[in-house]
Structure formats: C-alpha cells, structure tokens
C-alpha cells in the first residue's frame, strides 16, 4: 500500500512541513495531519497483526514439535518426558521475545510519526 510508505518515508519531510501552515489553532486537523495519523494507525495495526501471525506460526511449530516428540521416542530428562517439559515451559520465552520485538517496533513507528508531524520538535 503506497500510502503507508509515504508516512514512513523521510523523503517527504520537507514538502509536508510546508503544508502545515494551513491548520488554524483550535480547528479540525488539516489534511496532512489526518493523513499522518491515519497512516500511523495503519502501520501500527499492520505491525500488531504481523506480530500475532508470527507468534502463532512459531507457537504452532513448537506445538508440532511437542506433539511429534512422543512418536519419536520421547527422551526422558530428569524423570520427565521431554514433550511434557517442553509443553510446560517452552511457550513463555517465545511470548517475551515477541513482546520485546513489538515494543521496539511500535516505538520506532511513533518516532517516525513524530518526525513527520512535528519536525522542529523532534529534530
């Protein structure tokens, strides 16, 4: 989708700044600002959906391994079959990894938005 690339691109910074002069204080946001914030919403939604999809894919793979282990002659670790151990403990580190990746990416999207919407402040 081309619109989003416009939002995230640094190349358009100059011209966009020029259009901000049309907004009057206290009135509805001008076109540029609406485009920026709609673009941000779309970027953030795409990021969140991407993270969910990736998490589900990785978690499903792990679940597949857990299901497959008993067939492959489950090695016993500390008296417990590996499939049980993996099921009990394996999923939590995954969630943390995806959470950290998301937080960094979401903050980056917001920094880009700020650079577009308020070039003077964030320069």
């Amino acid at each position: 989708m081309p619109r989003v690339r416009v939002t995230a691109s640094d190349a358009r910074r100059g011209p966009r700044t020029a259009t901000r002069g049309f907004a009057l204080p206290g009135q509805t946001p001008d076109d540029a600002e609406t485009v920026f914030s709609r673009g941000l919403v779309r970027t953030q939604l795409r990021l969140a959906l991407g993270c969910v999809a990736a998490f589900l894919a990785v978690a499903a793979t792990l679940a597949g391994v857990v299901f497959a282990l008993p067939v492959l002659g489950d090695p016993v670790v500390f008296g417990v079959p590996a499939s049980w151990l993996l099921h009990a403990y394996g999923f939590y580190p995954l969630m943390l990894v995806f959470a950290l990746v998301y937080v960094r990416a979401a903050a980056r999207n917001e920094r880009r938005y700020r650079a577009l919407a308020d070039p003077e402040e964030s320069a």
Binding site: P29, F67, L69, P81, S83, A88, Y89, A99, L100, R114
Partner: protein, 495 residues
C-alpha cells in the same frame, strides 16, 4: 498438615494486607486517587500489581489439580492466560491508556458517543466480574476446609469480608500496594516449596517410572484438537475483555509506559506459571491417588507433607496456604475495584461514598452466588469467564481501538448476541452431556461465539451508516498518536 501453622499463616497474611491497605488510605484522598491511583504508579510496581490480581485461584491451586486429573492438556490454560497479555500489549495497552477513560464503559461511551452502549457494557462488565469472583470464593472455601475444621462457607465469607473492607476503605491506591505485595508472596509461596520438593525428590532415588507417571495418552498429543483450539482462542482474546485487567492501564503515566508495564507483566506471569507447572509435574509423581474430581484442586496443599514429613513440610504447607489466600484476595479485590468503579459511576453519582457502597454491593452478589452453588473445577470455571469476555467485550474493544466504522448499535448488537450465545452454550452443555459433535461445540463454544459476535458487530455497524460517531477520526488519532512529551504524562484533554 498443622492447622495452627496454617491458620497463623492466613492470619499473618490478613494483617499484612490490612496494614498495607490502610497505609494506602492516608495517601488516597481525592476521587481520582480512589479510581486510578492518580496514574502515578511506576512500571514495575504496577506490573507486580497487575500480575498479582491476574494470578487467581485458577492457576495457584487449579493448574496442578487439572494436570493431575487430565494430563498435559492442562498446561494449555496458563499458556493461554500468558499469551492473552501478549495480545493486550499488541492491540490495546497503549491506545487504551491514551483514551484517558477510567473504566471500560467510560471508554465505550467516549468512543461511540452513546449512553445506551455504555449501559449495556456496564451490565456485561458486572456479569464478567461476578462470574470471575465466584470461583475465587469457592477456592477459598475449599482451601480453608482442607487445612482447618471449619464449615465450607467460612473461607468464602472470610475472603469476601476482607475484600469489601479493603476496597471500600482504600480504593485503588491501597489495592495497588496490596496486590504488588501479593504477587511476590504468591511466587514465593510456590517457588520455595517447589525447590524443597525437587531437592528432596532428586535425593530420594528415582524410583518412578516415567511411562507410568507421564503416560503418552495423557501427554501433549492426547488432547482433542477442536477443544484445545477453541479454548486457546478464548484465553488469548478473553484477557483483553477482563474488567480488572484494563483498569490497571489507566494507572500508567502514558502510552509508552503502559507498553513497558505489559512486557514486565508477561515476564512476571510467565515466571509464576513456570513454577506452577513445576508443582503440577511434582503432583503427578507424588500424589497420583488424589486424581479424583473435587479432591484434585487441593493437591498443592498436600504435596509438602507427603514428601517432607514433620515440621518442614508443615511450614511449607502454611506458606502455600498463605499464597493461596493471597490469590483469592488479590483477584477478588482487583475485580471489586473495577466493578465498584463502574457501579458507582453508572448508578450513583461517582463520589467516594458511592464507591464504598458499590464495593460492598459488588462483593455481596458473588458471595451469595458462591454460597448457593457447588464448586466445579477451579480452572474450568475461570476458563468459562474468559469465553464470555472474549465473546462480548473483547471484540468491542478491539474494533473500537482499530476500526473507525464501529457504531453504538453495532456494539450493542454484538455484545447482546455474544452474551446470548454463551448462555445458550452453557445451557446446552448441561443438557447435552455426551461428547458428540454437538456436545463438543457446547463444551468449548469460543470457536463459534467469537466469530459470531464479531460478524454481528461488523454487519450491524456497516448497515448503520449514519451511526458512525462524529469524532471517530479524532478519537482514533488520539488513541494512536504518541503522547505529547515522551516519558511524561500528557495532559488529559476532553474525556
């Protein structure tokens, strides 16, 4: 088991809870303090409090019981509960903080500009909260009944009285201190016994047969695919719709700190579930004879004395008892805070006095429900609440945050259809007791109720062309654009 130690542990917990609660009272003076602790609660502290109220009797006692009864498929519950927080982080944490609303009904009213949608949301919030408190009180009755010769209602009444008292006296600030403390108590109360048990078991020679204790047909691959998938869908999405989870994000200073807090919550909650799962594995080794419905939920309390007879085992049991009561107290009081906030603003004027009255009312109703019903499995009772939340509030919140075409009529229709579908499934599960294809659909309805609710929401909203809120674009922009100054609280504009 030694009733003196156990009751002393519960007594000590009650004293510490009361002291922390009343220490908070001096700090909470204004209405804003009561509702959201004036939004000045730091990330780690706040994350401990969120985790403290999220970890309920369902996982503290119920997880080991379920794994003992039905095997590794029980592990899906904590996985779903923890992953629910990942979805909270991805979709709603920062936007809901920026909405500046106190409660879920506040958010719905501000977003959809409709009093009617607010009223319906309030009713749904109350139903979810009450359904969630009932298993906590059942757990309290069960635990107190195991450790001391008291009538079954005593534990439920004890917890209800404490919760209503603390919430009415101190509001949210007191509750934050109490719950942060209770998270660390709950973790300690399982971690220390788990370490002792593991050391004792590994020293005592491995005379267990892994194939008998962890049979493959009870293992991860033994679970039904539809049941597991439907359950996970409910647990993942249900967390977003829990009233006591979201009210906590309003206490973070800004959107970015709401996200940081949620990441810490994922760590804290995951750590607790890992320890809780360890107790479940130990339970299968040590206490296979307790794998009886009704008894299984008490297995965690029985473990220390089985492995370590004498004073050490009794002291560890007392620690677990204190942790279990912390679980009942924390979850119930978190729920009562959010319910009382809703009731006092919707029914009364929203003053401090009405908040206190509402807190008492919101505890009395679930107490009556708990005393009138028989406890079922703790984990599955809590799971049911997630199904209901995921089929009603979660779609409204998700679409409210991300979809500008959502309308008040759509939200009301979606919540109504979702609630009715869940109720029908619950009734159907009672009537159709067999495990046929229809019975399975009733037993785990989330896989069809959530899409149904979402479809109704979207279709009605799309048909309701004139109903798109006038300021929808502006409101969405406010939810998603970063707070004006990073790291500092943005001034709250019109709510």
């Amino acid at each position: 088991m030694n009733p003196v130690f156990d009751l002393a542990a519960v007594g000590l917990l009650v004293v510490v809870t009361a002291v922390l609660g009343f220490a908070g009272v001096r700090l909470s003076r204004t209405t804003s303090d009561f509702f959201v602790a004036s939004r000045s609660v730091r990330s780690v502290w706040n994350a401990s409090a969120i985790s403290g109220e999220y970890l309920s009797a369902g996982t503290f006692l119920g997880l080991a019981g379920l794994v003992l009864l039905s095997g590794a498929e029980g592990f899906w519950f904590p996985i779903g509960y923890a992953a629910g927080y990942l979805l909270v982080l991805l979709f709603v944490a920062a936007p809901l903080r920026r909405s500046g609303a106190y409660t879920i009904p506040d958010f719905v009213e501000a977003r959809l500009e409709s009093r009617a949608a607010r009223r319906v949301t309030s009713v749904v919030v109350l139903v979810i909260g009450w359904l969630y408190i009932v298993p906590q009180l059942h757990g309290a009755a069960l635990a107190l009944g195991v450790v001391a010769p008291v009538p079954p209602w005593a534990g439920a009444v004890l917890v209800a009285v404490l919760v209503a008292g603390i919430v009415a006296a101190g509001g949210m600030r007191a509750i934050t201190a109490v719950q942060a403390f209770q998270y660390w108590l709950k973790l300690t109360a399982l971690l220390v016994p788990a370490v002792f048990l593991l050391v004792a078991l590994s020293g005592g020679g491995a005379d267990v047969d892994p194939a008998a204790v962890f049979p493959a047909e009870r293992g991860p691959a033994g679970a039904d695919a539809y049941l597991t998938g439907s359950l996970l869908l409910a647990l993942l999405l249900g967390t977003i719709g829990l009233p006591h989870v979201l009210v906590r994000f309003y206490t973070s200073p800004d959107g970015a700190s709401a996200r940081r807090t949620t990441v810490i919550v994922i760590v804290l909650v995951g750590a607790f579930y890992a320890v809780s799962s360890t107790m479940a594995l130990i339970a299968r080794v040590v206490a296979p004879d307790l794998a009886v419905p009704g008894l299984a939920d008490t297995v965690v309390l029985a473990l220390p004395s089985r492995v370590l007879p004498g004073v050490v085992g009794e002291l560890l049991t007392a620690l677990i008892v204190a942790g279990a009561f912390a679980a009942f107290l924390a979850t119930s009081s978190g729920l009562v805070v959010s319910l009382a906030g809703v009731v006092s603003q919707d029914v009364f004027g929203g003053s401090v006095r009405s908040f206190r009255l509402s807190a008492v009312l919101c505890t009395a109703v679930p107490l009556a429900m708990a005393l009138l019903t028989q406890p079922a499995g703790l984990v599955s009772s809590v799971g049911l609440v997630f199904v209901f939340a995921a089929s009603t509030l979660s779609p409204v919140l998700l679409l409210g945050v991300w979809w500008r075409r959502l309308t008040a009529r759509g939200a009301v229709a979606g919540m109504a259809v979702g609630a009715v579908a869940c109720g029908a499934a619950l009734l159907g599960a009672r009537l159709v007791a067999n495990a046929g294809p229809v019975g399975v659909l009733f037993a785990q309805p989330a896989a069809w109720t959530i899409p149904l609710t979402t479809a109704v929401l979207m279709v009605v909203s799309l048909a309701d062309r004139g109903g798109i809120p006038f300021r929808a674009d502006r409101y969405l922009a406010r939810l998603h654009t970063p707070d004006t100054r990073p790291g500092r609280g943005a001034p709250d504009r019109a709510t």
